[in-house]
């Protein structure tokens, strides 16, 4: 099997031996002559027998495999690029089954001198027995593909994916291949596409270059992918601050307020309870089995949550020793304040409920209302009471007597009430009914009794 290699197919894989085998078999049925292409399987640390399977595999085309410790898809693809010798490199994911015309369509999309990156459709075949998550993914992909197929649609870097992508090898070398710092799932394709766009590469879509995607992940795996995508979205945003990888990353404050509140709560819980995302996965898996009508909506929201869990983990600075202390201090302060505010409010409301009628000062004032109206708008009067400070054991007595005087003044403003005022009129403020005759130094005469121990008196001038 020697000759001019037009296409090198690079398949990164991790722990999916059977899928790789299906892809290799499909690659044996291409319309392109088998001598014109080679297949390189970049094994990213798999230990599930993929290497042995490839060694045994009888391929009509040139097949090679390479193994590296698990470093992520970007590194695996770069390893494949380094050994590829085709003019055009086609990247296929390990769960793809390329249609017979796929490689030829890719090869034809790159005439000599062209600077293009081309993606082919990756529909997910489904039937009634397919799990609901596969239906959900299939609908998402179909909607994306139909958007790509719209006449006049110009591809942006966010339209690109690397599951079925081709471009000339020299272009890949020119831009430096995939960024290997993307060790987790996602965004290495956008990142490459963005650099290609910046290098003046045209993005294209070839409907003939179809590869079926056999989606075999369950919800848990898909949720973990979303989490990884959230993480890598932040890495992408940090690497390219002048743009953003997805509207989702820019849309933390978009969406329904109710969901945002729930999501905030869930993200908060995820911070404190590292196992919380696993509990969500378990809950969703159980729910999935019942197939409720609102399952797509639940998928959408839970996957949104997992995306932000990933983004949050990427945004969080690496843990430092003092950080736990700070978190503890902050939580303590906030909890104390909120708890204390609740306690204060509850206490005040309880006291208000137990209060009977008007407060002491208002009641006191009401006693003086008649007298105040009878007094002239401005003037000075004396003050006579039966509760003058007597000394003795009751230490509170002088204070209470003084308070009664102050309240009398407060009630009678603008009239000035002075205990020592020598004028002819005085205000009588008595507690006992015969107080007028009991406590006063001078012997006043009653001018008018307003009731409740409040009197207007005439004093004999000294």
């Amino acid at each position: 099997m020697t000759g001019h290699i037009r296409v090198s197919v690079v398949i990164p894989t991790y722990q999916r031996c059977a899928s790789v085998q299906r892809a290799l078999e499909a690659l044996g049925h291409q319309t392109m002559t088998a001598t014109e292409y080679e297949v390189i399987v970049a094994i990213d640390g798999s230990d599930d027998g993929t290497t042995e399977m490839i060694e045994r595999f009888q391929a009509p085309y040139r097949l090679s495999a390479m193994w590296q410790p698990n470093r992520g898809r970007a590194a695996a693809r770069n390893a494949g690029i380094r050994v590829a010798c085709g003019e055009v490199i086609v990247f296929l994911d390990d769960d793809m089954e390329p249609a017979p015309g796929c490689l030829l369509a890719h090869a034809d999309a790159h005439p000599p001198g062209s600077r293009r990156a081309v993606i082919g459709p990756v529909p997910i075949p489904v039937d009634v027995s397919s799990p609901p998550i596969v239906h959900y993914r299939s609908e998402g992909i179909e909607s994306h593909l139909s958007r790509l197929a719209e006449p006049g649609h110009r591809l942006g870097f966010r339209d690109m994916y690397s599951g079925n992508l081709s471009l000339r090898r020299d272009l890949l070398h020119e831009v430096g291949g995939f960024d290997e710092t993307f060790t987790l799932y996602g965004h290495e394709d956008y990142e490459l596409a963005l650099r290609l766009v910046k290098a003046g590469v045209e993005l294209g879509y070839s409907p003939q270059a179809t590869a079926l995607q056999y989606y075999e992940k369950d919800f848990a795996a898909f949720a973990r992918d979303c989490l990884a995508r959230g993480h890598t979205a932040v890495l992408f945003a940090r690497k390219h601050p002048d743009t953003t990888s997805s509207p989702q990353l820019a849309g933390y404050h978009t969406g329904s307020p109710g969901w945002r509140l729930v999501r905030s709560g869930m993200l908060g819980l995820s911070t404190w309870l590292p196992r919380f995302p696993e509990w969500v996965i378990a809950a969703m898996t159980r729910l999935e089995q019942r197939r409720p009508r609102r399952l797509p909506g639940l998928y959408r929201r839970s996957l949104d949550y997992f995306f932000w869990v990933g983004a949050q983990s990427a945004l969080r600075a690496p843990s430092r020793p003092g950080l736990q202390r700070l978190r503890f201090g902050l939580s303590l302060m906030v909890l104390f304040v909120v708890g204390y505010s609740l306690r204060l409010a509850a206490r005040e409301v309880r006291e208000l409920q137990h209060a009977s009628g008007p407060d002491e000062i208002s009641r006191y004032e009401a006693r003086f209302q008649g007298l105040r109206q009878a007094l002239p708008p401005y003037g000075r009067v004396g003050y006579v009471t039966d509760a003058a400070p007597q000394g003795g054991d009751d230490v509170e007595a002088p204070r209470l007597a003084f308070k009664r005087y102050l309240l009398t003044q407060y009630a009678l403003v603008p009239t000035i009430v002075l205990p020592e005022y020598p004028g002819p009129l005085a205000v009588g403020n008595f507690q006992s009914p015969n107080g007028l005759n009991s406590g006063a130094r001078r012997q006043p005469t009653l001018v008018r009794d307003f009731g409740g121990g409040v009197m207007l008196l005439r004093t004999a001038a000294e």
């Binding site: 743009t243 990353l249 000075r380």
Partner: protein
Amino acid sequence: MMPGFLASLVAAVLIGLLSLGCLRWSQAEVLRSRVLLVSLAVGMGLGLSSAVFFLWLCLVGAPSSGFPLSELGVLILLGSVALHARRQRRLRPRPSVTEDAAVSPPNHPLLSLALWLSTGCAMMAFLAHSAAGPQGGWDAWMTWNMHARAIYRGGDHWRAVLTGLPAWSHPDYPLLVPASVARIWTYMGEATQLAPVTVALLFTFATVALLYASVSRLRSRTQGALAALVLLGTKFFILQGTSQFADVPFGFFMLATFALLALPGVWPDDRPRLLALAGVTAGLAAWTKNEGLLLLPAVLLGYGLVVVRARGWPTGLSDARAFAIGLAPVLALVVCFKIWLAPPNDLMSDQGFRQTADRLLEGSRYLQVAGGLTRGFLEVSVQGILGLLLGGYFFCARPAAEGPSRLGARIAITALSLVLAGYVTVLLTAPAPLLATNIRSINRLLLQLWPSALLAYFLRIRTVEEAGLLGPRLSEAGSAVRGSDRGLLPLSEAS
């Protein structure tokens, strides 16, 4: 009654807003800071409208139904000036400050929730406490509401009634709070407790809002929320607010002064305007309580010590000029009140050099004052719990690096230290009969400083973002969105 009540509040807030609008702001960011502007407008509006009311009393006489009309004239005048200023304004769209201070990410949702919950609880506690005791605390009816009644009920004799009140009612105290209450009564046509309760409510929550807004603007919204939370969790602050004393309004103006002195750090183009406003609020502090007359030299000295050292004399002098422009009219009002209306202050009487020196040499006084300060601090900081929490948090978060708010923090710390030193000196030299009374009210003196101390504290320490606790905000990850890429693909669907 209610229309008059509402009209009085609307007019007061409008006076505040239009006074702020009269300034030709350079940075659009200032006008976008709505919480800051509204909280300032509430306090300044009440303060300035009380000054207008006092002028009316001095010039026209008794509070009457003609006053609202004259205030309408003031509003029209301010509105015209504000309109003119708006036309003359050349706003700069972007703030010329460091990014972290100018573009503060939104608050953390859980912190927002805690803030709203605490605000709701504090409001409920305030209203319940006020409903149970609408006359306020002892000093409220004995001093502040008594003065308000003297002004309102005194009619043409208001001056004689006010100055004729017994000495225990302290007729020498400035009139911002009493005049604000009497002004609302004039609008309403009757004296009800709704007015002092409302004035107290507005000042209490405007202080919280101002603290939140200023720290948010100077540091980060998370930091602002934390500062506001701590203030809301200060039970003594909320209950003193309901007591209708003048300490919370005074605390508001002190806080406003320090915040406005710090804000040029992030809005350098509006430096003279912010300093002039700081002058107004410092003047209004002196129009609220006699302690304001101590605050003024402390602010000037503190500002001078920090700014002249950092930026030299020319900046210090031009800043002082701007501050004086704002301060002068309000201070003139206070001086007129002190000269022509107020009797001598009881603290000032019996203060000869010999007596003062003798008192300063009494060791027992120091012990009493230290004990009073400790008890006061414990009371303000919820039996010291908040103090411990803040101390521990400072230890964990550590001081902030150099930034636009550092100078403001230094000014506040220096001036607050000077004010505290002034309070201690006054206490040490107070005549013997007043000492015990004054020591009992140290908690309220400390409460006046509390909002400003929280401002200084939260300006000084690192934000949770800087400390790396929350990391950059989730919303921040996508904040650098530029351009217009099409064919956007939801991530969960991309493979």
